[in-house]
């Protein structure tokens, strides 16, 4: 993974000093609330319902075991012993003291981490495929380009004060696990037949109040032009994006207003002035950054398949876990393991300091000391020898990180919601918990197959409800918390936005309504159809009928 050089160390150290001084001036009354708000938001600090929330950047979701131990220590020393994995692959702390934040940043800087641009109207932490570098279906490792974009976007002179937040995602695999279609900019990197690095650029996707699937504005851009092309897009957005209404300020609204063609022309005209300028990447710089992401020397080991089959036969619980939580690795004898945080009774994505330390230990014992955070709010161990899966599973069971539910109904994506967030209309965590409690029969869950339930507590859509196969949105009805359900959303290669079924439901009704939806699916599915496939074949009507007939 990437390692800081002296340049990075110095920049982050200066950022800590700068932020410490700003905090001091705010506490001394020299900066107003409004002035400090914009400054602290450039450094991940929100003032929430109960306490400040600090969002720590985990660049493209990659962590070392050393870094994860430091995050555990911060949870213990400055918070209440836990942290929260966000849907943007970051780590959030819900209970730090405002005055302690500079010390937290200093602790982070020691392990090459920061909270720069994790909130505010600027370019946010770049996200990618949690299986990057190890996925069997990868065309080109996206992480070097994420790092190049991280450096370029850090305190950019021109693009740190945008109309609205700006999210970039990069994928390099056949199967898109980074949801690039629903980002302000989505990049698909790959090699052409001559081995040249190319990138397809999508723009204007997003969730929130106006969900949109992004459109391709450039295909086959040679990688050296990545930054100048991004610069052209950002300049058009920074100049012409709306600033009068925060709900119309995202780039998707600008793209719609100008039209796809009009926007492309504007960007191309701007880029014609920038093409070949000094920000053009050099082959040396690309190889320098790529060198950090060279695959480790994988010791040649037995593929482990025979003994794994035996272990699975002997232990059905282990077998279930392998079936759902273990993905293929590009090197024979290794596997990619997802450690699910979606255990009933625990808010999705919440992890304790001890769990973090345990995961760090496993990354050292069964890998090369590397951990990923998935946007589905789970941990991933990327390089586990197949022969060690059983030992890892036993330890994960003890630590409550072995729920065999990755991709299943109970692997719910959920924002912090009204329990923590001051923007929320409704709580989201108790809904997730009620669903997990109601559907706790593994055989039923496995029979249902892959179903994504995504829950957001408000229109800002941090829980990505639009792209859940079943999406749940908290709404406020005359001061009461209600939940609107949409069906048929999907993130990935076949992105789609869910369709709302109809009037919303109270929290107490939700598990029953879910049961009806699942029942309709089970009755209508043909052969091995997944929920999404059945939905796409039969449409929303059969679901609607059953839900509202029963509700009457």
């Amino acid at each position: 993974m990437y390692q800081y050089d002296q340049f990075d160390h110095q920049f982050v150290a200066e950022r800590v000093a700068n932020y410490r001084a700003q905090t001091g001036r705010f506490l001394a009354g020299e900066l107003s609330e409004e002035q400090f708000q914009h400054l602290r938001l450039r450094n991940g600090l929100y003032l929430q319902r109960l306490a400040p929330m600090l969002r720590v950047a985990v660049p493209y979701g990659t962590l070392s075991s050393l870094q994860l131990r430091a995050l555990a220590a911060i949870a213990r020393d400055f918070d209440r012993g836990y942290g929260h994995l966000s849907t943007r692959q970051n780590m959030q702390y819900n209970w730090p003291e405002l005055a302690d934040v500079p010390d937290i940043l200093e602790a982070l800087a020691k392990v090459e981490m920061h909270a720069i641009q994790t909130s505010g109207n600027c370019i946010r932490n770049v996200t990618t495929d949690q299986f990057a570098g190890v996925a069997a279906d990868e065309l080109l490792d996206p992480r070097p380009y994420c790092e190049i974009i991280r450096q370029w976007s850090t305190s950019h002179p021109e693009f740190d004060w945008l109309p609205r937040k700006f999210k970039i995602a990069v994928t390099g695999a056949r199967h898109d696990r980074a949801a690039v279609d629903v980002h302000d900019i989505g990049l698909h990197v790959y090699l052409d037949d001559n081995g040249e690095r190319l990138v397809d650029v999508k723009v204007g996707g997003g969730l929130g109040r106006t969900p949109v699937i992004g459109c391709v504005i450039r295909r086959g851009l040679p990688m050296i032009h990545l930054l100048t092309y991004l610069e052209a897009i950002m300049r058009v957005y920074n100049r012409y994006g709306r600033r009068d209404n925060k709900f119309k300020a995202r780039i998707k609204i600008l793209v719609r207003a100008m039209g796809e063609e009009g926007f492309r022309e504007k960007v191309d005209a701007e880029w014609s002035e920038l093409e070949g300028s000094p920000s053009t990447l050099t082959a040396e710089e690309i190889s320098r950054i790529e060198s950090f992401f060279e695959p480790p020397e994988y010791p040649k080991i037995d593929d482990g398949i025979a003994s794994l089959a035996q272990q699975r036969l002997e232990n059905p619980a282990f077998s279930r876990w392998v079936e759902h939580n273990v993905a293929p690795h590009k090197v024979s004898g290794y596997a990619v393991v997802t450690l699910s945080t979606k255990v009933t009774g625990v808010p999705p994505g919440d992890v304790t300091d001890r769990q973090m330390e345990a995961v760090a230990d496993w990354a050292d014992d069964y890998g090369f000391g590397e951990i990923r955070i998935a946007h589905e709010q789970n941990f991933v161990l990327p390089d586990v020898p197949v022969k060690s899966l059983y030992a890892l599973w036993e330890r994960a069971l003890q630590a409550q990180l072995a729920e065999p539910n990755v991709g299943l109904l109970t692997d719910i994506i959920c924002c912090p919601g009204g329990d923590y967030c001051s923007l929320a209309n409704a709580k989201s965590i108790p809904v997730a918990e009620a669903i997990q409690q109601r559907f706790d029969d593994y055989d039923y869950l496995h029979d249902l197959g892959p179903i994504d339930i995504n829950i957001s507590g408000c229109m800002n859509a941090c829980g990505h409800h639009h792209v859940g196969h079943i999406g749940i949105l908290g709404v406020d009805k005359k001061g009461q918390e209600f939940y609107q359900i949409s069906l048929g959303g999907s993130a990935g290669n076949d992105s789609a936005l869910g369709q709302i079924v109809g009037p919303s439901f109270s929290r107490a009704e939700m598990p029953d309504v879910l049961a009806i939806i699942l029942d309709v699916y089970v009755n209508l599915r043909a052969d091995d159809e997944t929920f999404l496939e059945t939905y796409r074949r039969v449409g929303i009507e059969p679901f609607k009928e059953r839900i509202y007939v029963s509700a009457d």
Binding site: E14, H38, R239, T282, R288
Partner: protein, 154 residues
């Protein structure tokens, strides 16, 4: 009273100045002509016009300190139009953002009343170097010897 901060070419530092808000008259783009003695006052959403390059002074007015349009306008004035005269940020200018303004080509900054606190170097120039190219540093760090020399020094 308002405070003017200027970039000192000799020392390379930003300094508060005694000259105060300069009395030069400013005219908005609709009224200004290349013949006028007055400086040119631009709104952040004004489009570029070639004759702007001849202005004696251009001031860009920030409606709020966190409105970044003035940053792009400054970059275009410097790099697209080749304007070399004084480029001043006026309006809701914040000391903590001067390091962005400076890198986009502004060289003087008129702070509104009550914003004079905290004008030490730590506020005005908190970083010794940046990753990207900018108006004042046309080469990104990866093309400069300083970064290249550190390559391998991890």
């Amino acid at each position: 009273m308002s405070a003017l901060i200027e970039f000192d070419q000799v020392s390379g530092l930003l300094r508060g100045t005694e000259r105060g808000p300069v009395a030069l008259t400013l005219l908005a783009a609709e009224e200004w002509t290349p013949e006028s003695e007055a400086g040119l006052l631009l709104a952040v959403d004004d489009e570029l016009q070639p004759q702007f390059a001849n202005a004696s002074l251009i001031a860009v007015e920030f409606p709020s300190f966190h409105d970044g349009r003035g940053l792009s306008l400054a970059v275009l004035l410097r790099t697209r139009l080749g304007y070399t005269g004084e480029l001043r940020a006026v309006g809701d200018v914040h000391p903590d953002l001067i390091h962005y303004l400076r890198r986009c080509g502004f060289d003087s900054f008129l702070l509104p009343e009550g914003r004079q606190v905290g004008l030490e170097d730590a506020v005005l120039a908190p970083y010794s170097d940046y990753y990207q190219a900018s108006v004042v540093e046309p080469h990104p760090a990866f093309r400069r010897s300083r970064r290249i020399a550190h390559f391998g020094d991890r």
